[in-house]
Amino acid sequence: MALQDVCGLQEPPLFSQWTAPLSHFFMPENTSHLNGGWSHGEDCSSWMPRGGGMSPLEFYMPVAEYLTESPLRFGQTNLISSSTNLLTVDHLRPSLPSISLPTLTPCSISPGVPLPFTLSHGTTTLGFAFQGGVIAAADTRSSCKGLVACPSSPKILPIHSHLVGTTSGTSADCALWKRILARELRLYQLRHRRRLSTGGAAKLLSHMLHPFKGTELCVAATLCGWDGETGEDEVTERYANTQASEKKNINTQREASNSRSQSEVSSGATTQPITGDDKNAMSVASRDATKNYSSVVLSRVSGPRVVYVCSDGLCLQGKLFSVGSGSPYAYSILDSSVYWGMSVEEATLVAREAVYRATHMDAYSGNNVDLYHVTAKGWRRRQREDLKEEYYKEKERERKSVEERKTEETMMVK
């Protein structure tokens, strides 16, 4: 146990009070909240590993606790051994593995230890949806105050086959929270046998980040994805089950719609919104436990989606977003050229142009441009392009057109 504490390897303990050092200080509230008082019950408890720790890596929704604690406490650190400090300390961040080491000298630090270094910031990222899918583009420069820490950092991270996220803010935060999000989405996919929608993933991410509001965590991500629309057996069954539990007047229509449901089901895939009859039909069909509706298509909202999530807690859905220090310049290109009906080539060119212009004008953006295209089949990555060449090519084109104009004028004069 001691070795594990030193190494920060937090296995979720069987009984949450064992490893959390100051947890027995909180015990009365803890048990009541975790066991009894929490009304949302099963769903949340499956997401809450019962670790006492609150390190960012343990995905723990400290819903009850954070409501009573000031979020600023996350910035504080207490390297105080548990035994001596129950009475004097009423705030804590119980996650640091070093807390349980009795050898560390007590030292309490005011909110937010002033760091002697800076973390990476500054970027241009953008994402927009159109009829052919979603385009996500970003530059690749990662800067630390005046120094370019990395000229080729990947700012668009794929989360799963149909979802990519652009990252802006502190690169460590973004990289890690994307990993955590990918893990949670994968768990969701395994548990519920379907992919979580983009809106759902955004909501999840913003709820995960909310406990850290007020701290120096800085994540501004645009989630770009394609929500599933192909029919899946389990999907319809599950959806039907929930419908069945809500509807109370199915019985009367059961006989009438039964025959209809079978014929509808076998007729083929449809993408219309579910009407009342269809819902009844499906709930009936699921009751019958027949699985021959593989071609029935559920259309909740499906298709391309772009959602912006920020560590302030903001979660916005829209058609077009650009984030970062270079975003004003990108917006000017995007607002004038993006429209729903554009083709894939057009969209790619516009995204590339927007990033190029932004890198040209913004000091903290630069180097290369990454472009991802998300469709119903998944995401595709375009080769990383060096924008330095683009600048010279553009100069060359300008020079040529000037020359052409000059020769035309001289011809006309003659």
């Binding site: 960012p56 890596l57 640091l96 002697p116 990476s120 990395c150 950092s153 502190t170 460590a172």
Partner: protein, 236 residues
């Protein structure tokens, strides 16, 4: 990381009286030092100077910053020496735990991912360490992973970290990455050329950075194992 002009100005103020000043205890100190790692087709080299300093004083001239983790991986850490020591202790313990539960050594990529999570676990009171991992990946090719103090990392072919990093990185970009050069033949880097380049580069760093000097320690990782070499640098 090179101390920016503003920090330097603040440091100077410590030695001149400017009026009543509140001094808070800072848990961090900057102990200097530079680390560099280069990856080739079948080798990786991690090099560091051996000077340990604090402000105007030199604590030690023989404190290398490369730590051997496994037979195929070397870690270089520079920054605050206290955090470097604790971090390497934790990493070594985690490596042992992995070896005992999985019956094999950790690969370079796995060590890099683990280090990222260890660093991020202290997001709000970070380890003040600039890490660079150099080693061989599963296919025997050289790999370099560079980190920031909070755990953001990626795989590179070469990277410099520490106090002279801002001076060395552009030189490496030019000589190894062939950046900003026109019409140059891009030959892959050989082991001898890489060794010579690193020695030259550290000699230049010792000239211009006060926190770098004394001696250079090279750890050369090949499939035969890890070879160490020490070369003296300026001691002033």
């Amino acid at each position: 990381m090179m101390i920016s002009a503003q920090n330097y100005g603040d440091k100077m103020k410590e030695y001149h009286y400017t009026g009543p000043v509140e001094h808070k205890f800072s848990p961090y100190a900057f102990n200097g030092g530079t680390v560099l790692a280069v990856a080739g087709d079948d080798f990786a080299i991690v090099a560091s100077d051996t000077r340990l300093s604090e402000g105007y004083a030199i604590h030690s001239r023989d404190s290398p910053k490369c730590y051997k983790l496994t037979d195929t991986t070397v870690l270089g850490c520079s920054g605050f020496h206290g955090d470097c020591l604790t971090l390497t202790k934790i990493i070594e313990a985690r490596l042992k735990m992995y070896k005992h539960s999985n019956n094999k050594s950790m690969t370079s990529g796995a060590i890099a991912a683990m280090l990222s999570t260890i660093l991020y676990g202290r997001r709000f009171f970070p380890y003040y360490v600039y890490n660079i991992i150099g080693g061989l990946d599963e296919e025997g090719r050289g790999a370099v992973y560079s980190f920031d103090p909070v755990g953001s990392y990626q795989r590179d072919s070469y990277k410099a970290g520490g106090s002279a990093s801002a001076m060395l990185q552009p030189l490496l970009d030019n000589q190894i990455g062939f950046k900003n050069m026109e019409k140059v033949e891009q030959v892959p880097l050989s082991l001898e050329k890489a060794e010579q380049l690193i020695k030259d580069v550290f000699i230049s760093a010792a000239e211009r950075d006060v926190y770098t000097g004394d001696a250079l320690k090279l750890c050369i990782v090949t499939k035969e194992g890890i070879r160490e070499e020490i070369m003296p640098l300026r001691k002033d």
